[in-house]
């Protein structure tokens, strides 16, 4: 922990979270808050996805399944069971992590493209299950009733509370990435990414490491899902398990720089802002996918290290600050 305090990025993450929390409060700018919360969620999803893709070298096409399941569990606990939002979100996070651990022990026996395909299978299968699951409202999903906001001081207050909580989860996601990166555990993951068989021969218990990181990468997205769908007031299977969003997470990661803490945040922030801009721009709204796809193609072809990789080449010493 003491070593964390000496790292510039640790303080930069706290600063970022502070700015996120402060900007919309100043002048009670709710529109900005709504923009920033989407950026924060993109950062949460991308930095946790980075733990699988960037750190461990396993492409997860179905990462959004954790977000959606977290949303369902959180909403169910908070509205049907009437638990406090924070407790609901944490319990949802723990339960989803356990589910991920179970899935992980199965599908992590697969390597490379086979694993990637299996993650798509898991996403579709879970979505199909939830769409038929009666207690969660099948395809129509669940709605939050207005009295669920009462414990948080009414709906208007509840929105601010969820915002600060999401910013907290964002900061935790980045700190988690940073902590893992500098740990022995992270070193083991990197070894698996570079050459799994060699890593095993060097003593890395790859089976356990992969299952743990798969489960860990599920936790904060699930918490964020619980918070976000509570804030949105409803959830249904098509928005909870949006395949496209899962794939866009990969674009964000590659754009920023896979395997780096700052890259995941940078890529997510830039891409989400670009996407929001394109969607509300009358002339470009239809082209956001074309632009995103073209961007991805250019990045992997010309700068496979993403923006951060490019920064490293430009300023080699930047490696010590942005990790």
């Amino acid at each position: 922990m003491m070593t964390m305090l000496r790292r510039p990025l640790f303080w930069l993450i706290l600063l970022l979270a502070g700015i996120f929390a402060w900007l919309p409060v100043r002048g009670n700018n709710v529109a900005l808050r709504e923009d920033l919360i989407l950026v924060a969620v993109a950062i949460i999803l991308t930095s946790n996805l980075n733990l699988m893709i960037g750190y461990t070298g396993y492409v997860n096409f179905g990462h959004i399944v954790f977000y959606g399941l977290g949303g369902y569990l959180g909403l169910y606990l908070a509205t049907v069971r009437g638990w406090h939002l924070v407790i609901s979100a944490l319990v949802a996070g723990v339960l989803v992590s356990l589910v991920a651990l179970l899935f992980g022990l199965g599908i992590l026996r697969l390597r490379g493209a086979y694993f990637a395909l299996a993650t798509i299978g898991v996403l579709v299968a879970v979505q199909a299950f939830v769409a038929n699951f009666e207690p969660w409202g099948r395809s129509t999903g669940m709605y939050v009733s207005f009295d669920s906001y009462a414990p948080l001081g009414g709906p208007r207050h509840a929105l601010w509370t969820t915002y600060f909580l999401v910013i907290g989860v964002m900061a935790l996601s980045l700190l988690l990435s940073l902590a893992i990166k500098s740990s022995k555990f992270g070193l083991g993951l990197f070894a698996i990414r570079e050459d799994e068989d060699a890593a095993i021969v060097l003593g890395v218990n790859a089976t356990v490491y992969k299952a743990i990181i798969y489960s860990v990468s599920a936790f904060l997205p699930a918490v964020a899902g619980a918070l976000m769908f509570f804030k949105n007031g409803m959830i249904d299977p098509s928005i909870a398990f949006e395949y496209m969003l899962s794939l866009e997470g990969i674009v964000m990661l590659m754009l920023g720089g896979s395997g780096t803490v700052a890259g995941a945040a940078l890529g997510a922030g830039l891409y989400e802002r670009l996407r929001s801009y394109l969607l509300t721009s009358p002339r470009l709204s239809e082209f956001h996918l074309v632009i995103a796809g073209g961007l991805l193609l250019l990045v992997i072809r010309l700068a496979p290290g993403g923006l951060i990789g490019w920064l490293y080449r430009l300023i080699p010493h930047s490696r010590e600050v942005v990790e």
């Binding site: 022995k184 070193l187 095993i200 021969v201």
Partner: protein, 250 residues
């Protein structure tokens, strides 16, 4: 007295191919045991069985008094049995130092990152790679990559080191340096089990030599005896130059 590594009746079959067939041997503490045999004799398969990459069909493996049959490679290395690969497998995207730190962290002593750093620098010094510590592993020459393989395995603080053709592809100077390294490893108290095609080197280095042919053990004896073993000479008949070398050495 029991040996450090005792292999009893081990076998492995792949489809129609009997890769290793009922092989038994003992490796004593402090010993350098050589492993030779023609191509396809099953040498690397035997290594893979010993360190757990392959699960054996039959037989048992005892290491330092513990039954390690069927243990996965990562557990085997934590018990003190490390190895190198015939085809070098550095963790390409990481630096030389990081590669060795991985070895130290997940090796027998299960070191912390801090201790592993110190161990890694020490080991790199030993194999002569200290100057390249911060280079990316992919940038090394073949000879340096072989040293890196050895360094990584050494960083695990093993009791027994399996070396799979660490001399192959090196020029005479590099071979001489590597032989020095192997000597110093043994001098530091680590036993060595090595596969090698460079006959002169293995004959000089090994205390005893194990010879495999077609998955079977055909000889286990000190180098001087091995070269006179008719089975061994026969096994190498397809390779006249090696037979000559064997003869020449005797």
């Amino acid at each position: 007295m029991t040996g450090l590594l005792e292999v009893r009746g081990i076998s492995k079959r792949f489809g129609g191919l009997q890769a290793v067939s009922d092989v038994s041997f003992t490796l004593n503490e402090g010993e350098i045991l050589g492993l030779i045999g023609p191509n396809g004799a099953g040498k690397t398969s035997l290594f893979n069985l010993v360190n757990g990459v392959y699960k054996s069909d039959k037989g048992s493996i005892m290491f330092a008094g513990k039954d390690i049959t069927g243990l996965s490679p990562d557990r085997v290395v934590r018990l003190g049995l490390a190895r190198t690969h015939q085809i070098v497998r550095p963790l390409q995207g990481m630096t030389v130092l990081e590669n060795v730190i991985v070895g130290a962290c997940f090796g027998r002593e299960n070191q912390s990152m801090h201790d592993a750093h110190a161990t890694a620098l020490e080991v790199l010094e030993k194999v002569g790679l200290a100057k390249r510590a911060y280079s990316p592993a992919r940038a090394l020459t073949l000879a340096s990559k072989k040293r890196l393989e050895v360094a990584r395995a050494l960083a695990a603080k093993p009791k027994l080191l399996l070396l799979d053709e660490v001399l192959a592809g090196l020029n005479p100077t590099e071979i001489a340096q590597m032989i020095d390294i192997i000597h110093s490893i043994r001098d530091s108290g680590i036993s060595v089990f090595m596969i090698e095609h460079v006959m002169q080197a293995i004959m000089n280095l090994s205390d005893r030599i194990l010879v495999l042919n077609l998955g079977r053990k055909i000889a286990e004896a000190p180098p001087a005896e091995v070269v006179h073993n008719t089975d061994v000479v026969e096994a190498y008949l397809g390779f006249p130059d090696i037979v000559d070398k064997l003869r020449g050495m005797a």
